[in-house]
């Protein structure tokens, strides 16, 4: 059923009790053409684009937990594309282009809000970094404005530009913003199922069957399944799945935390990021401040970060915005993120034939969801990455052609 004003009015006559389920819970079939392992935004999106753009009929998405219960529902929902290197710019801007049409494409309001993102600069070095990145963005067709201190103070009334680490300027991307993260998973799930994709929840992959160097099947908690092609899209557990297939990855899995404040009236109409003092903050439509910062430095699968990281988030926040100092923080939570050496994702082929992987998005995968899913669908369908995905191959760790965004931005994204 299409979500429309007509159907809204029609369903109001039955007190909104007869809406169709957005997606069902089918049984696992014995055989599929393509199985996507991981039912987050990237995985569901991959299944959606495989069905829609490449006409693949027989697809399943296997999700260990429930749709939207993993990192897709645990992030701080920031979307931007102002990356330094050409390869990253192409990938993340492809995503922003898709974000702009996503709600109408999926017939599901993902609440994409292009409220603008300010990357703050606190030192001469920071100013040089944002200037370099801003010009790099211009050359790649990404909108960027380099602002001075007065311009920042004027646009963000509550910011303290004369704190311990004064705000000297900012890099503004007006097309950046936020989206409703749950809606992204739900929207892709519903749209994919409408195209015939089976979404199997509570189905964990326990083994990968390989014959003559080609993937042939999967062992799951709901039985075994024969497959022609498999796409692994497992944020937080990439190494675990790769080990099942007998190869390893250049990845460390670490905890990343976020937290939200009590809801307040509108006070912050943009997204703020600071690499140097290291905090990012935006205000959700419910009125909560959504705050994030860096990941813990040690490997963990516990989905729980350390307490001192919370202090590291709050200290720069109240320094930048003294007005927030009396807000209560309501909730904090952690997710596990897969971090690569160059802080760029891995998209492409694996040592196993017809087994593809899309992982290593580290601390910033949400922003890339539609772009990642779109290029990975093409990779799985054609068996080869397209021009956007090609630089992010696993092979770059042998050739040395890293896409070193960590050094570029000096921060976990």
């Amino acid at each position: 059923m299409k979500y429309s004003l007509y159907n809204l009015v029609k369903n109001s006559f039955s007190y909104h009790e007869n809406w169709e389920k957005a997606w069902s819970s089918p049984d696992l079939k014995p055989e599929y053409d393509v199985v996507i392992v991981g039912g987050g935004g990237h995985g569901l999106g991959t299944a959606y684009y495989l069905a829609k753009e490449f006409g693949v009929k027989n697809i399943a998405v296997l999700e260990k937990g429930w749709i939207g219960g993993g990192n897709t529902g645990r992030n701080t929902t920031i979307i931007r594309s102002n990356y330094l290197w050409d390869e990253s710019a192409a990938l993340y801007n492809h995503a922003v282009n898709l974000w702009e049409g996503l709600s109408s494409e999926l017939n599901f309001n993902v609440m994409f809000s292009q409220r603008g993102l300010f990357h703050l600069a606190h030192s001469v070095h920071d100013m040089q970094e944002i200037t370099r990145r801003g010009y790099s963005n211009y050359l790649n067709g990404i909108d960027a404005e380099i602002l001075n201190q007065d311009q920042v103070a004027k646009k963000i009334p509550h910011i303290n530009v004369n704190g311990r680490y004064p705000v000297l300027g900012a890099l503004l991307q007006r097309r950046a913003g936020t989206a409703r993260h749950d809606a992204v998973a739900w929207g892709y799930a519903r749209a994919a199922e409408n195209l015939g994709v089976d979404i199997i929840q509570n189905c964990e992959v326990k083994g990968i069957d390989i014959s003559n160097g080609k993937v042939v099947g999967l062992q799951t908690t709901k039985g075994s399944v024969k497959v022609d092609k498999v796409g692994l899209v497992p944020a937080g557990h990439s190494s675990v799945l790769a080990n099942m297939a007998g190869f390893s990855l250049p990845i460390n899995s670490v905890p990343l935390q976020a937290l939200v404040s009590e809801p307040v009236k509108p006070i912050l109409d943009c997204v703020i990021m600071s690499n140097s003092v290291h905090v990012y903050v935006s205000q959700s439509d419910k009125g909560e401040l959504v705050v994030g910062a860096g990941s813990d430095a040690y490997n963990s699968y516990s989905q729980r970060g350390s307490f001192d990281m919370i202090e590291h988030m709050m200290a720069p926040l109240v320094e930048l915005f003294p007005i927030f100092s009396r807000l209560k923080m309501l909730r904090s939570w952690g997710g596990i993120v897969d971090v690569t050496p160059d802080r760029s994702p891995i998209i492409g082929k694996t040592p196993i034939k017809d087994l593809f992987i899309n992982c290593g998005w580290g601390t910033g995968g949400f922003k890339a969801t539609p772009g990642s899913a779109h290029v990975f669908a093409e990779t799985v369908f054609r068996g080869e990455p397209n021009d956007i995905a090609a630089p992010f191959s696993l092979e770059r760790h042998f050739s040395g052609a890293l896409v070193d965004e960590a050094a570029a931005a000096a921060v976990a994204h």
Partner: protein, 94 residues
């Protein structure tokens, strides 16, 4: 947050320490002879286990010495800390 038993200083708060990733990775003896693939594996590829992990820490705000930690990455429980150069502990099946 962990309480870490530094082999030199005893139990201290985690904020005094920094983690430096997987331990017991030996630099190849013959870097000029090995393939790009072998060198890439040495530089970048890690075990990243869901379970027992051996890792290097430094006591930055204490003795400033390096040591190894055996820790469970699911429960975050520290099983053992030991000095650099000591043998890698055996994982028991209990």
């Amino acid at each position: 947050m962990f309480i870490i038993n530094c082999p030199y200083c005893g139990e201290r708060d985690q904020t005094e320490f920094t983690c430096h990733g997987e331990a017991h990775i030996a630099r190849p003896d013959n870097p000029s002879e090995i393939s790009d693939e072998e060198w890439g594996k040495y530089l970048f590829f890690r075990e990243n286990p869901k379970g027992t992990h051996f890792e290097r820490w430094t006591h930055d705000h204490g003795c400033r010495r390096w040591f190894n930690v055996m820790r469970d990455t699911v429960t975050d429980q520290i099983i053992k800390t030991y000095k650099m150069g000591e043998a890698k502990p055996v994982i028991s099946n209990e």
